[in-house]
């Protein structure tokens, strides 16, 4: 029966050679994987000097990757006592793809703080192992696994996107690795009692945390009664718009329309047209990255800005993209937990250090990275570097408080999310010709259970 059909089969498979090849590949690859795991014990940790940190803003994060650390010059593994052994911090960030600036800025912020403290805290060197999740939840999970099981990290910091955070959450909690979230705003991670965990801390924000107070502010202070909300059509967009709308309505305002546009929309014309037909006092918008550039530019070109003032979440006019938006972004009022123009000595020092190290303006992501590194260092100091005693270390993390760039930083004791100062900012042209988010008001002590 089989042999009758031979003429049809011109795909000649030799199963023997196939299996041989397969076996070699699998075993070879996996052995390489083990080998990689062993070699990265080399003590290249301390090498995070500012120059190297600067070099690391090039696309490859070689300075922090285990492979680079295992280069022959790094010496032999030292079987040192726990006190001298580096504290390994695994960093997961979206360093390639559409959201690469978010992850890269966060990593830069972390490195900046670590270089300020000479990569030492609690008497131990701190080693960063940076892995790229590429905006892909599957890859984020694989990287988390790799960091925990192969690199044996003591802590995980970072995670850029909400869906990446959702994907890695169970794994990290199960592995009992303290996790300091550096950006992902998935609300449940700190707000949902079933999802939060003693191992999860967040220095950034929960989606809605800085949008909700803006609801009150827009009604009471800015005096808008009728607002259209528009956002990117994905979970964070709905969460943020929802938080703003809810508080705006509670304050007495009316949401006259909701317009959601898919990510990577090139032509906002149809959406702007819908907005134009509505009768409103202002438009609240949440867009990010390239979408934010296109939305704000097209909103102004469309002539809508003369019709409805544009307000929104800080991401819509983030420092990353503000100069691309230029005049189109002028006078946009937004809320965020950060602005590089916030007036405090700590913030000035941070912005200047960031500028001189990376030749770029600090933004919310860099700020969050800076906070994440600082939180880790403070907790290490409080425990004399004994990160191995997990319960004590978690307690120390919980108790961390310090004066950061935007004032006092602390975690909410129940949610373990940050208590932030919401800054109300307006885009203005600065004396040097660039554009900036000038702080016009501040709403203090906003935690992530308050909305």
């Amino acid at each position: 029966m089989q042999h009758e059909s031979q003429p049809l089969m011109n795909h000649r498979l030799s199963r023997r050679s196939m299996l041989l090849g397969l076996g070699t590949t699998v075993l070879g690859g996996l052995l390489a994987a083990c080998g990689g795991g062993e070699s990265e014990e080399t003590p290249a940790a301390a090498a995070e000097t500012p120059t190297q940190a600067a070099a690391a803003q090039t696309p490859t994060t070689a300075a922090a990757s285990p492979t680079a650390a295992a280069s022959p010059t790094a010496g032999t593994p030292s079987a040192s006592s726990s006190s001298g052994e580096p504290v390994r911090v695994g960093v997961i960030g979206t360093i390639s793809g559409v959201y690469s600036t978010l992850g890269q800025n966060m990593v830069d912020g972390m490195k900046l703080y670590l270089s300020e403290i000479q990569n030492q805290a609690g008497g131990r060197p701190i080693e960063l192992i940076v892995e790229d999740s590429a905006g892909d939840p599957d890859q984020a999970l694989a990287k988390a696994r790799q960091l925990v099981e192969r690199d044996q990290v003591h802590l995980i910091a970072g995670v850029t996107l909400s869906n990446e955070a959702a994907a890695v959450r169970d794994y990290i909690v199960e592995a009992q690795v303290p996790w300091i979230i550096g950006n992902a705003g998935l609300p449940g991670l700190t707000r949902d009692p079933n999802m939060r965990s003693p191992y999860i801390f967040r220095v950034s924000f929960a989606n809605g945390q800085y949008e909700a107070p803006f609801g009150d502010y827009a009604y009471n202070t800015l005096g808008y009664k009728r607002v259209v909300v528009t956002a990117l059509d994905y979970s964070a967009g709905h969460d943020k718009a929802g938080a703003f709308s809810q508080r705006f309505q509670q304050a007495g305002g009316e949401i006259v329309g909701e317009v959601y546009a898919p990510m990577d929309t090139q032509d906002y014309g149809p959406y702007l047209q819908r907005i134009q037909q509505m009768d409103a006092d202002a438009v609240w918008a949440f867009y990010s990255g390239g979408d934010a550039v296109r939305f704000v530019l097209q909103y102004t070109e469309f002539g809508l800005k003369d019709q409805f003032p544009l307000i929104g979440a800080g991401d819509t006019v983030d420092e990353n993209i503000l100069n691309q938006q230029g005049d189109a972004a002028l006078d946009v009022v937004s809320t965020l937990h950060y602005s590089p123009l916030y007036d405090s000595p700590e913030n000035k020092a941070f912005v200047e250090a960031f500028q001189s190290t990376y030749n770029a303006q600090a933004n919310q992501f860099a700020y969050q990275g800076y906070l994440a590194a600082r939180v880790i260092a403070e907790a290490l100091n409080a425990t004399d570097g004994n990160v191995e005693d997990k319960q004590a270390f978690l307690e120390a993390l919980k108790g961390v408080h310090f004066t950061g760039p935007t004032g006092e930083f602390r975690f909410h004791p129940e949610s373990q999310g940050p208590v932030i100062t919401v800054l109300v900012r307006r885009v203005e042209k600065l004396p040097d010709g660039s554009y900036g988010n000038v702080v016009i008001d501040a709403i203090g002590n906003v935690d992530d259970l308050s909305f």
Binding site: L8, H11, R15, G23, D136, V148, N163, Y171
Partner: protein
């Protein structure tokens, strides 16, 4: 002729031996591999089943599907929803996942199978995009782009406590995939499987011989859907999470790359493709973000020099060596002849 028979027999037994070695290696892998490489191996095993199911369509039947992730994702969401919302245990959940994949194939089959070639590719692509859109927008049920976290990993009860939870789960995966691959083997070796190859080579002739080719394609599409959904269910358990990425056409595209890279239409080739791609992803990506560039180069090289896939690499080497060796050299002849006849024997094995 007598000699050839011997060769066939010895080739077959040595192949069985190698299969046995591979099986034993997979069985003892947890003993020698730490958790991380073991998790990579688990993923390779799961993806192997997924790409083998795609290979049924692409390799055996000649239907180029760019939407196989529809089944992979359907299985994943079925398992995740049942495990999280209904607290269903793994065996019934996986069975429902397979049924969901089969149901999806039953419904969509008549539409996509009206076409072939590039049109088939586009229709399957649209199918997976439609599902992607539904999942993305139906946030109440699917969690939208945040996906569904919290899928508990199944364990073999008699192993729990004896081995770690990852090892235990690895054996769950191995068991399920082994059963599935054994049935797949039986399918492609049956007369049904040979009809598929006939359709790929020349559908009109097969039809002219009286075979119901449309129904054959429909059935293989349903089978591929079922196997794909099973792999998707396992993948959801593996990650403890399911998101729309599992349904994305990018996942389908990656699977297609694995199939073609490994060798479409060969039984084990796709496994090789999945292994290479996943190892590249996890190993190369830890020292450079440009791993996709490297994958691209590997793919281009493979298409140029091994158009029938990596599975053909040993045969190619043998061909080149046989060519390089002048047939006139008498001393070498017996060896060359032996090699050649083995090759013939292996071909006829197909």
């Amino acid at each position: 002729m007598h000699r050839k028979g011997l060769d066939v027999r010895s080739a077959r037994s040595s192949r069985l031996l190698l299969l046995a070695v591979a099986v034993i290696a997979l069985l003892v892998a947890p003993a020698v591999l730490p958790d991380y490489p073991l998790s990579v191996l688990t993923e390779i095993v799961i993806f192997s089943l997924f790409v083998m199911s795609l290979n049924l369509l692409v390799g055996y039947t000649g239907l180029p599907s760019l939407g196989h992730s529809a089944f992979f994702g359907t299985g994943g969401y079925a398992v995740a929803l049942l495990a999280i919302r209904a607290h269903l245990s793994a065996i019934p959940a996986l069975i429902v996942a397979v049924l969901a994949g089969i149901a999806l194939a039953l419904i969509t089959g008549p539409f996509v199978l009206r076409t072939s070639g590039a049109y088939f590719l586009i229709l399957t692509l649209s199918l997976t995009q439609v599902l992607f859109g539904i999942v993305w927008l139906w946030r109440g049920m699917t969690g939208g782009d945040d996906g569904l976290p919290g899928v508990p990993r199944p364990q073999l009860p008699f192993l729990s406590g004896v081995v770690g939870s990852w090892t235990n789960f690895y054996y769950v995966v191995l068991l399920v995939v082994a059963i599935a691959v054994a049935t797949l083997w039986w399918v492609v070796r049956s007369s049904f499987g040979l009809t598929l190859v006939g359709i790929r080579e020349n559908e009109r002739i097969v039809e002219g011989l009286g075979y119901p080719t449309w129904w054959t394609k429909y059935i293989v599409y349903i089978l591929a859907g079922g196997y794909g959904a099973l792999a998707g269910g396992l993948f959801a358990y593996f990650k403890g999470y399911v998101g729309p990425g599992q349904l994305s056409w990018l996942t389908a595209g990656e699977a297609l790359v694995m199939v073609i890279l490994g060798g479409a239409g060969t039984f084990w080739g796709p496994v090789l493709g999945a292994t290479v791609v996943l190892l590249l992803r996890y190993e190369v990506s830890s020292f450079t973000q440009r791993w996709e560039t490297i994958l691209g180069l590997v793919f281009i090289l493979a298409v140029l020099f091994l158009p029938e896939g990596l599975a053909r690499l040993p045969d190619r080497i043998r061909d080149i060596r046989a060519k390089g060796r002048p047939a006139a050299a008498p001393a070498e002849q017996p060896a060359a002849e032996a090699v050649g006849s083995t090759a013939i024997a292996e071909r006829s094995e197909q």
